[in-house]
Subunit: 156 residues, 2 copies
DNA sequence: ATAAGTGCAAATACTTTGCAAAGAC
DNA sequence: GTCTTTGCAAAGTATTTGCACTTAT
């Protein structure tokens, strides 16, 4: 707001394009390794800085940290994800009717004002993240699931 | 399974007790700082090692990384959470009927086998995590929400 | 011309790990 | 007594930051 705002550079645009054009839900390192051959004068710090910028601008969303690395999605439309705890693969859930899914969630979570007694604090929520953790088809035979939890079979 | 299994020590039990007896959804550091005055000969590494152990045993669940720190919940019953992006506070969502919530989610995510065509890969899922990100009542007036996202007001 | 974007390397911060000593049963 | 747990400090790893230089308009 304080004057001229520049929002583009070749590198910035290339980084966003890479994130948008993959279904791999990449981390910063993946983006860097993919672009480095094409843009030799690229540094990892720039990838980090731009991803931070994109997130602030709402151009990418964070899916959280998987195996120590933060992962991102260029598809900012809210939708649930599956994460393989072992190999770190992240896939979209092809939810048959995402709007229905969303609507049901909202109804459950936004009760009428008078449903609860006592004093209530208002949270202003702008991001909903639903992630299912487990093991993908390649990893499921070699590694155990977490103890004490139900098992859901989800087909993608 | 390879002989005798020991699962308890004074420190281990105390760490679990601290995690179970708070609603703050603590990280390792918080647990350490809370126990250190009571158990002077306690090290942070032990807290980390035991939390890892508890998670493997299904005694605590991870809520993901908030502001760079992994947070945990001693209540392993699946339920959604609210996270304040600014101050890092994590609170439970007092879902009026968690079973209903769960059942609806399951129906939406486990379509009949023939709903999709093509070859499908099976994910074995054991953990469901739903987190809503935003700003709590104390922080909402000072900081902006993320751009390009809907706003949900959630009362706790 | 001028403010934004970037490379590089150092700094940060959380978490994990190796090994010898202490603890549990 | 034997195997597990722990303290301590070092190592590991993802991410951020400071500063001088470059790029975009």
């Amino acid at each position: 707001m304080n004057g001229i705002e520049r929002k583009h550079s070749k590198k910035r645009d290339a980084i966003l394009e890479v994130i948008r054009s993959t279904l791999s839900h990449p981390g910063a390192q993946w983006v860097y390794e993919r672009l480095k051959p094409v843009i030799p004068g690229l540094s990892l710090g720039t990838v980090y800085r731009n991803i931070t910028f994109f997130r602030q601008e709402g151009l990418v969303v964070s899916l959280g940290v998987v195996n120590g690395e933060e992962r991102f999605d260029g598809d900012v439309k809210p939708h649930p994800h599956l994460v393989c705890r072992h190999c770190g693969r992240v896939v979209d859930i092809p939810c048959p009717a995402p709007e229905t899914f969303t609507a049901i969630l909202d109804r459950g979570l936004m009760p009428p004002r008078d449903r609860f007694g006592g004093n209530r604090e208002c949270f202003r929520v702008d991001v909903r993240r639903t992630v299912f953790y487990g093991l993908c088809g390649s990893c499921v035979e070699q590694y155990p699931l977490e103890k004490g939890r139900g098992i859901y079979q989800i087909f993608i």
